[in-house]
């Protein structure tokens, strides 16, 4: 049996957990490749026009996996937990995929959980193990092991980011959902341009999760979505150590449409660039926008240094 994992949306958050869990249980899996033009084109063709770019990419990855595996892993995240809600997209994506591809004999493998409630996640993985015909003890061991791998990977990211913060270069905090900024087709090019411009991108979503969650309310009290809470909560952690902030969103992200506006209105002491990605823009246009933003930051910084 082979499980297909779409390299999109929650993959970027849970890749260590999923891969280690399946590996430990001795179950084969395949990953769809990095996002490319063709995946986006196919995903868009299957999508309702107005869907967000990230979900179009997701459908492209699911389509790529059809006929290449026995099951496609599509977890479903439920509405409420003490850490916040999730975008309605994550509640519906399982059924959306099932309906869109119902004529192409698709088998879905799912688990349904509240984000971050540890024991609920564990229960969900034990159930998943049962579907895969594994003993409870095996699944439990695999889950706990995978959880360790996930934790280690997160700590490593944080350490690496702390090192980057020491660099003597212009630093730009990039606030973007993980599935956008770590996507090779829509996110990576932005990070590359920033690096080519001799700046260091600092990724908001890498911030220590607990600390970020504890922080968000300083900036926005009623912010409901856990993904955005983590991003907004990273601002107090990094703000004083960066020179500017980029808000990168995938068109037309519902939560970001409001959250970005709040941030622009409330954060007055750092230059902010609001960058909406629709998957259509050429590299040149993006380069120009980022370059002029960085120029403004450099100019301001020189001005301040001159004054001191």
């Amino acid at each position: 049996m082979i499980i297909g994992i779409p390299r999109a949306l929650l993959y970027h958050k849970y890749k260590h957990l999923w891969k280690s869990f399946f590996k430990e249980l001795g179950i084969d899996y395949i990953l769809s490749p990095d996002t490319n033009k063709e995946i986006l084109r196919k995903g868009s063709a299957y999508s309702i026009d107005e869907s967000c770019l990230s979900s179009k990419i997701y459908l492209g990855h699911v389509e790529w996996l059809l006929d290449k595996c026995d099951y496609i892993l599509i977890p479903r995240f439920s509405d409420y937990s003490r850490n916040g809600t999730v975008c309605p997209k994550f509640l519906a994506i399982y059924d959306v995929v099932a309906n869109i591809f119902r004529d192409r004999s698709i088998n879905l493998l799912s688990y349904s959980i509240n984000p971050k409630v540890t024991h609920v996640e564990m229960a969900a993985f034990l159930k998943l193990g049962k579907i895969l015909n594994k003993k409870k003890s095996q699944s439990l061991y695999a889950y706990l092991n995978a959880k360790q791998v996930e934790k280690k990977a997160h700590l490593l990211e944080i350490t690496e980011q702390e090192r980057l913060l020491q660099e003597n270069k212009l630093k730009i905090l990039v606030l973007a959902h993980r599935y956008n900024i770590f996507d090779k087709y829509i996110g990576e090019p932005i990070l590359n341009i920033l690096r080519e411009q001799e700046t260091v991108p600092i990724i908001g979503d890498i911030a220590p999760q607990k600390e970020a969650i504890a922080n968000y309310a300083q900036i926005s009290e009623t912010l409901p979505w856990v993904c955005n809470r983590e991003l907004v909560g990273s601002i107090p952690i990094y703000k004083d150590r960066v020179d500017g902030i980029i808000l990168m969103s995938a068109f037309p992200c519902g939560p970001d449409s409001l959250v970005n506006e709040i941030l622009i209105r409330r954060i007055k002491d750092k230059p902010i660039l609001n960058l909406m990605i629709d998957g259509q823009e050429g590299k040149a246009g993006m380069e120009t926008r980022l370059e002029s933003f960085i120029d403004i930051i450099r100019f301001k910084k020189d001005e301040q240094n001159g004054r001191n």
Partner: protein, 355 residues
């Protein structure tokens, strides 16, 4: 102390029971939001982020116009989609524009116990009494239900009235008289009397008229300005219009479990906001052999976008045409009319070939 003049954004004709709740329950003056016009939308759009859903912009326009009409206390509710975050940004934008009002954001007390919720409400008027609210609330809820029942009847018959404008005239009188109601008995009598009047209006309805069901997102489906008066247009084409979505069926008596069970073949997991009801109603209209379904939503409404692949499958499975409308602040009148007319031509032709 300055008199408290409170308001909540417009939604269909619900300002009437809301006025009763605010005046008799919360003991404050209620400012009925000025009717929504192009200016309301222009105001709301100018100060809103571009990609936010249209209801946010309508609400903001409403808030600004009610402040200008004298309101000093504005209320925003919680919700299960982007709506739950509307309030904080509305408050921020109004503050940045220099308006000094008491903004009561009920999102702050979402999902907590009733006492915290009541304390949240008290921000409208610190002097309010639970007793007064308890006394008027059943009447307010009943008024929502009566308005919904009357409007259901109107939608199914207004397209066939012999004298143009007859239904609208009685409807306006009904809403006007409801504003004076304070007692349960008065409410009941007013409703009964007006239902008699509605039923007495002369209509000329064929034995098997065209029937269209309307489904979709909460605000756009219920606020006629935001859907280009879709229901009125359909009625003028001589169509029975059926719409389940209203306050009675969602906020007062929402059959969540039954809906989940009924749509199991299309949606395994429960969804949020109005999408489950959208799917459920589409199924119901399809099974009942309606001639067509119209789905309405504001641009970018995620729950409703996600319902669309399922609607497409229902359309295939039951061979029922579905027309999809997305409304934003720039929807063109011509485009809307052309698509509606084409849909009408199609469903009338299908009906004739069936015969």
């Amino acid at each position: 102390m300055e008199e408290i003049k409170a308001s909540y954004p417009q939604l269909g004709n619900y300002c009437t029971p809301l006025e009763l709740l605010f005046t008799e329950g919360f003991d404050v003056k209620y400012i009925v939001p000025p009717p929504i016009t192009k200016k309301t939308l222009a105001l709301g759009s100018r100060y809103s982020p571009d990609y936010v859903c249209a209801p946010f912009k309508y609400h903001l326009g409403n808030f600004i116009e009610t402040i200008e009409a004298g309101a000093n206390t504005l209320v925003q509710t919680g919700g299960v989609c982007r709506l739950q975050y509307y309030g904080e940004l509305h408050e921020q934008i109004l503050q940045d524009l220099g308006y000094r009002v008491n903004f009561v954001n009920m999102s702050k007390v979402q999902d907590t116990n009733p006492l915290t919720f009541y304390n949240g409400l008290k921000e409208i008027n610190p002097q309010m009494s639970l007793q007064k609210i308890g006394k008027i609330l059943p009447i307010v809820l009943k008024m929502f239900e009566y308005i919904d029942e009357a409007e259901n009847f109107i939608r199914k018959n207004i397209g066939f009235e012999s004298n143009k404008g007859a239904f609208e005239k009685v409807h306006a009188d009904f809403l006007g008289d409801l504003r004076r109601v304070r007692k349960k008995k008065e409410l009941k009598n007013t409703y009964r009397d007006y239902m008699k009047l509605f039923k007495g209006i002369e209509i000329n309805k064929p034995a098997d008229p065209l029937k269209v069901g309307i489904i979709g997102e909460y605000y756009t489906i219920m606020e006629p300005f935001s859907n280009h008066y879709l229901e009125k247009e359909l009625a003028q084409m001589g169509i029975v219009v059926d719409r389940w979505m209203n306050v009675t069926n969602t906020l007062i008596h929402y059959p969540k479990k039954q809906i989940q069970k009924r749509i199991k073949n299309y949606a395994e997991y429960p969804w949020v906001a109005t999408s489950m009801a959208t799917i459920d109603r589409a199924l119901e209209f399809a099974r009942k052999g309606y001639d067509g379904i119209i789905h309405v939503k504001s641009f970018g409404c995620t729950p409703e976008i996600d319902a669309m692949p399922i609607l497409q499958n229902i359309s295939k499975d039951y061979k029922i045409p579905i027309l999809y409308f997305t409304f934003d602040t720039q929807t063109s009148e011509t485009g809307f009319n052309t698509r509606l007319e084409a849909f009408y031509d199609m469903i009338i032709m299908r009906k004739e070939t069936k015969k």
